[in-house]
Subunit: 363 residues, 5 copies
């Protein structure tokens, strides 16, 4: 019931997705997400090795004003449903309309596009929310010369670690350029994939236990849900490997050689993640197999009980039926110990059957 | 019944397909579609940034006359079963006979062929008709210097959005060349794939619900139909990715650098579509698995009922059978409370069995 | 029975295949087919734009004599079991012994080999014979400067169309060189693959109907046969794509640029064929799945009938058994309406069971 | 039983394999095969176009002495378990220790290694022995300037044909260099793969027959054995294709251009073999599927018999039970024709059930 | 039970894995293994062709002091949970922080990273412990100019052979450089994979026996465990092939040409291992299939027993029931030999049924 409801809620949204966009010109900024109506909140963090300031600008012009400063600035825009606002930012930073379209298109697959003055990237943040569900959040990032623009749907905790390191001067982040910040954000996203995969692993191992002990149809359904979840995660995570390796290979001066060493590390993690997903996929398929084999096992057990009961008592009932006949001439009926003889035969038969089934290993 | 009929209608058409063409020389123009007999309707839309005119030319010469104009012209030919007419157009625009053959061959797989003066493309338009069926329509397009020729089987609504944008000067289409129009049409086709895939997704999710609740053989059949549909869609959609990327890589001056940025966007969408198809394929395979597991589940349930009923009542019937025997000497029959004792034994047995089955979790 | 016999006939032939050849030097001409003993029939068709002559040469020298003429000659050799004859032809045309070996090796997989003065190709002609079986015929072709040699096992109808076009001057074949003839023959072979695939499609769709209505074990066997057929066809057809694309890429002057445009068309068709085979493969696998699911469905139905009958009548029989006991003291037996009460209980039970099964959706 | 024993015999051998080698330095010559203790037998065949001599050398020095001769020499060493002997030969011919290690390592996968003065190759000879089992024999070959060294485990018959051709001057082998001999030996190995595959094909087709007629568990086991055999064969045969193509591409002067034409032929055969293995793999998987479907078919049949018998006779027994009750007041019992009426009802019920099952197509 | 406990122990560890690291800067040294708290034990082995010394240095400075010596030194650090200690070593040898991070990250996938002055590699050592379980141990190695640093979690026996060869001057290890030592260690790791795979092979073959004889649900579970084990092994072993081939292709002067010949040998082994894993994977999948087929076989057998018993005795009981009815007028009851006639009919029926089942091959 609950399931049906949940699906019911999601589907109409999805259905409206493409009708919204259909027929519009490419480059039209159309928000495709589910959290419409909210206004964007902008947060600017500016830092270099010595200085650090954080503030929430009053209006767009305030944002751009800050861009002139020599420090690295991390401009975080939370809430992307206000298409006009995004358009304004785009204009000020000189972003291509196609970039703006992708910023608000929450169904955009992960990608890296290089332009002359900036590098544009779209990723999916994955994290586990309080209801223990996997949340997929669209995040777009633009690397400019001394500035990183981040567009998110919701206030996040995936980037919390990076923010913390900047504020506490921990690690080397304060001594490096905007490209290192760009890397650090990607790295934070990728690192969080591990948490999600671990969550998945946990779930699969739990199901493994249950499948073995008690294979109910609900379990089969849950296994299918896991398989679907793995498919969906794979879809969003899989391209990341290629994107990071493209950043490593780029000749764009925005990415320095120093940062590429770190990107190589992120590439490593992406590879590991892709392998894990592959393994989880195979494990979830094994789960279904296991489920089917346990099902047919249960069936075997049921059939054995039936067969044993029927095979023993149907012949005995037949014997009782014989001596329940009303023929005038049935000599056995008049034997003094006929009744006991019959009992003897029945018990012998019973024991014989038991031995037979024992031998067949059915008991 | 209905199904059988539908197949019956399609098959003969298909059977005639290749016999029609067999033995003819390559380059022979042979219409391969199902809507024979109709005459072609030509619609010409001419525009530049300032001017816009639309008209239906009287004859072939009128079409070519218009080609001389400095504006971009979109020549839309609906209805391709008139082979002579196509041959005439081909001659006027200087198209290769092989191109003409492909224009009317509705079974041609998607392709891009570059010639010296023009680029020729074949695509499949997919859309959902009013009966909620997926329609596959063959469309051929020729990009010339300031002109795009479009050959379709039926009057469409897939290109409606493009036409609308031209007429309303929305987006940048009016300010760009024929290659942008060419791109815009491809983009419209690709965008519509999303609608079709969404329709498919809907159907799969509906089936998922039903499989879980009530796995009938009809459902199995529908799942197989979905699988087949996915196969067919994949066949027509899959090559598009490569075609678009070939357009991006081409050095043909007909495609400008500006348009290539937009084509990259279309490539992105094609990639996304291919991934989706892959996922739908796996989902439809999971559906079948789910169906099978629910089937064997139902079977398990049926067998449990049988086993419980038989295991309880066959032994009880045996006991009743014992005391229905007609032996002269059966002391129990003459016990005062013999009848009640037997009832006691029977009830005890019944309760014992119930506990046994309860323990086995069969109840 | 019939099946067993058919296999029995084929197997010994096959078994003798490699023993025949084993231990011989590479380049030894050993006929590997099944139609031994026949003599070769040679047919020569010579033509250019204006002239056309056809004749059956008396002996080998007559064949070569004709080679000197300025016209294009199509030398068709039907029957390749006469190894000496093939050797003589080979000598006259200067063919490599390995080429001659491949000409008579009917198990040779499709291939294109380029030599300095000629291009050698092996293909499989597939067609449907009058018994509606798929026939695989080995055909070897040699493209020389103004001559195409064709070696076939049987008189064919696959090349009939080409012959017809030459004789009727239809299409452009009469105005072009030997390479165009070479292409036209390959094209005819590839075109015929479509007919065979269509035949297969037909068979699969027929089986689909039957599987749904009446899944007998014979059907399962037929599905497996189809799967095997698809495997076999794929084996012979799959390499063609690569061969044609190698002809397109070759720098051999025997293939002119003009003909390459047409070869590109043939490549297109090969791609389409390969895709179709892939789809038929998946469809035949789906068929088997469908079969299995319908089988277990039938089983479910059988079990339901058994369970319903047993669950209703076993308890009722038990009740009848109770009152068939012969205890001296069974008060119910002496109730005036005892018999009717029992009937009442039985009918109530019956109705209760029916409602239960109805609720479970088993009726 | 037999099976268990056979496995018992093989496993300890295998288990000792790697412990033997573990911890030794790379390049240590450690015989890994199963035929220990035998001494090596050396046979030298020397020939050119005119001369031919064969002899068994007394000691190692005799072997090397012969190497000086201008003729081609084929030095055949049968028995490779004498590690010292192999080491001595290696020293005389200047072979790398790693080569010697591979010569005696019977588990080495097929490979081609090029060194400055020689080319080293390892292959698996496959043949059918008298017990109709597939035998895998390790063979190592070294091509030197005018000499081919062959190391085998057992006296073979795979190379018999080559030896025969040399002795009888048949084919071109006597007129060519050592590289042609090298090719001829590889060709002999590859040709024998066809015999083995044919054997496999035979077995699969036999099983196909049996699966259809009588699917016993033994058959399932045999199918699995076939699948395993195909896996094993694939493992040893699959790399050959690549090795031969590497020989074709090598720039090593030891392989002449003339011989490469023949190697291309061997490559063709390797491709064909790989395709066949692929097909046998799919066929063996189909076999298992077929087996499963026939199994569930048998089950269906069993269940139908049970259901028909039970559904007919349980209700009839119930009716008989009714009139076996001992109520004082059962009017029907006293009807004059009551007994016949009951028979009538029973027969009607019987016929009704038969019609019902007939309609369901269960009879 | 035991299983559940084991999982219980592992899971919390795993869960803590990524939370530990999350949010820290890349390059932070965080031990990720399970053996925390132990101190590192350093063992230094220094050797050249003539000299050999082994000692356990008192402190870090002692380690570096030794680095100045002209001999090859193998510095073995066992125990990597002391992050400060690792940091100090890193500083002294000038290692990049990312390298240090990977040294202690026991979940790092195998990799080779080349830096200017050193080559860094991570591998997984696999071995069978005394409980016959497969142990995965993280090992990191750094190749410097005349020194190899090895970081392990536990004191090992995988490298025992190498140590032994150095001490006994066996093989060529004492005469070669640090790169040969580096290779020898990798080779030892790879060689040990064979032992693990053999162990796996053993287990699979044992299961094969059991599946055939007695397919219990525990067996199904064990098969799934094997499948999972194969997946896990594949994950750690699979990348090794690529890493070794990268070492072969590197232009880094740290790896000499001589050593590359040996690396090629190690590459060969990696290829063989990957093929074996692939085969074990397919074998374990076959096992499951076999299990399922034997299960349904057992079911068939059970059903046959039930069907035979029921089909024989239900009709006989019906006959007995007939003559147990109490109708006043039942002429057969009064026949002198009625009782014997009925027995005759029953026996005839019994024999008939037996013949029927015999014919159906069910007995």
């Amino acid at each position: 019931m609950a399931r049906r409801k949940r699906l019911g809620k999601i589907l109409p949204k999805k259905a409206s997705k493409f009708q919204k966009k259909m027929g519009k010109a490419p480059g039209t900024i159309t928000y495709m997400g589910r959290r419409e109506g909210g206004t964007s909140v902008v947060n600017i963090l500016e830092y270099n090795e010595n200085v650090l300031s954080e503030h929430i600008p009053g209006d767009i012009d305030a944002i751009v004003a800050h861009k002139e400063l020599p420090e690295i600035s991390w401009i975080d825009i939370v809430g992307i449903s206000d298409e006009d606002f995004i358009a304004k930012i785009g204009k000020r930073f000189g972003l291509n309309p196609l970039v703006l379209e992708d910023i608000v298109d929450t169904h955009q697959r992960p990608k890296i596009d290089e332009y002359e003055d900036y590098i544009f990237g779209v990723f999916k943040m994955l994290y586990i929310n309080n209801e223990q569900e996997i949340v997929y959040e669209h995040v777009a990032m633009v690397l400019l010369e001394s500035c990183v623009l981040v567009f998110q749907e919701m206030d996040d905790d995936v980037f919390k670690g990076v923010r913390h390191r900047i504020k506490n001067k921990s690690g080397r982040i304060r001594t490096r350029g905007a490209d290192y910040l760009f890397f650090a954000l990607i790295d934070a996203i990728v690192d969080n994939y591990f948490v999600v995969l671990e969550h998945l692993n946990h779930k699969i191992e739990e199901l493994e236990e249950v499948v073995y002990d008690n294979p109910t149809p609900e379990i089969a359904h849950e296994i299918q849900m896991i398989k679907k979840e793995v498919l969906r995660i794979r879809r969003w995570i899989f391209p990341v490997k290629e994107l990071v390796s493209r950043l490593i290979d780029t000749e764009n001066p925005l990415i320095t050689k120093d940062t590429k060493v770190f990107l190589r590390d992120a590439l490593d993690h992406s590879l590991e993640i892709n392998e894990s997903i592959q393994i989880y996929r195979e494990m979830s398929m094994s789960l279904m197999e296991m489920y089917m084999s346990n099902m047919s096992n249960k069936m075997n057990e049921v059939m054995k009980v039936l067969t044993i009961m029927a095979s023993i008592f149907i012949p005995l009932t037949f014997i009782a039926g014989i001596y329940g006949m009303n023929f005038d001439h049935m000599p056995e009926l008049h034997y003094e110990n006929g009744y006991y003889y019959v009992w003897g035969v029945m018990i012998a038969l019973f024991i014989g059957m038991m031995i037979y089934f024992k031998r067949k290993n059915w008991l």
